[in-house]
């Protein structure tokens, strides 16, 4: 399908003020947009990155970028926004709550600095992506929430404090742990709720 010139072309202005024009055609389950290479503000196409100059494959949940010279297509997943909270209670200390944390489910992260001495740096991350199934023969999509603690310096790998998973269509994902058999136990709770 090729639409008429005024209706088919979707002009997109990049952050570097590049205007790109694509021509769309329909395939059975996907829309394909081919660049028309009309970059109004630049003459050097080699400086283009991201969507500019790429062929777009648009489906209901993904946007694929096909760029000349790249062997692997860039798969951009459609992101949904979640509203999260984290509640921490170190051993023998007060509860600390972080609320109203807005992150997206395609690898969105938020950094938390605890109110302790010394302060700890935590990272809350939400990722919806494909994973090998238990059998190893298939791929399944999962929504996973992580809470990492950064190392003492940049050379140390962040340690995983806790994780929780849900099916990709879930509107909520969270976890909660509590130490047992200790008078002042440590607790870690986090939950994310889809808001759009």
């Amino acid at each position: 399908m090729r639409l008429t010139s005024t209706q088919t072309t979707a002009s997109t202005t990049a952050s570097s003020a590049i205007t790109c024009v694509w021509s769309w055609e329909r395939r059975p389950n996907v829309w394909v947009a081919r660049p028309q290479n009309t970059f109004s503000n630049t003459s050097d196409n080699s400086k283009l990155s991201g969507l500019a100059g790429a062929t777009l494959w648009l489906s209901s949940d993904e946007l694929w970028l096909e760029t000349a010279g790249q062997t692997v297509l860039s798969e951009l997943g459609r992101a949904r926004t979640y509203d999260c909270y984290v509640a921490l209670k170190p051993r023998g200390a007060k509860v600390q709550m972080f609320m109203g944390l807005k992150i997206h489910d395609r690898g969105g992260t938020v950094e938390l600095i605890t109110d302790e001495t010394p302060a700890r740096k935590l990272n809350l991350m939400l990722r919806r992506g494909t994973w090998p199934s238990n059998s190893g023969n298939n791929l399944v999509e999962l929504l996973i929430l992580y809470l990492h603690e950064e190392g003492a310096n940049d050379k140390l790998q962040p340690s995983l404090l806790d994780t929780g998973w849900a099916t990709p269509e879930s509107s909520r994902v969270g976890f909660g742990i509590e130490e047992e058999g200790i008078p002042e136990p440590k607790t870690e709770n986090a939950c994310c709720k889809k808001i759009n």
Binding site: L58, F98, G100, H104
Partner: protein, 121 residues
């Protein structure tokens, strides 16, 4: 002999059926020229579908886990929004995608601690 005749009949029936299907398929895949009204309808579908936020972090994580990290495309976060209602112009915002919002989170923490907190024990 009856069996042989039956199989010969079935063989030609299957061949003719396949030829029919190929002929029908060629009709379906022939190019279709759409009118202006249908083109407008398709454009509305594209505009509705295109708007949103996209990120390739899950793909990068998957490729790294599969020992294909060097072939993974660079991290990219894209936000596509409509520039003007009813038009086919979109604003495109691209960035690296790692959002660390420590100062607002810390500010919220302090404001929350002034209030009565629920007990978690």
């Amino acid at each position: 002999m009856m069996h042989r005749g039956y199989f010969v009949f079935m063989f030609f029936s299957i061949i003719s059926l396949n030829l029919t299907q190929i002929k029908a398929a060629s009709k379906v895949t022939s190019p279709v020229i759409l009118g202006v009204a249908e083109s407008n309808l398709q454009l509305v579908k594209i505009s509705t579908l295109l708007i949103g936020e996209y990120d390739n972090e899950p793909q990068r994580y998957y490729l790294t886990g599969m020992k294909r990290g060097p072939s993974a495309p660079p991290r990219l976060h894209v936000n596509i929004s409509l520039l003007k209602e009813g038009s086919s112009n979109f604003a495109l915002e691209e960035r690296e995608g790692n959002e660390h919002i420590a100062p607002p989170a810390l500010a919220r923490l302090r404001s929350v601690q002034r209030r009565q907190l629920p007990r978690f024990s």
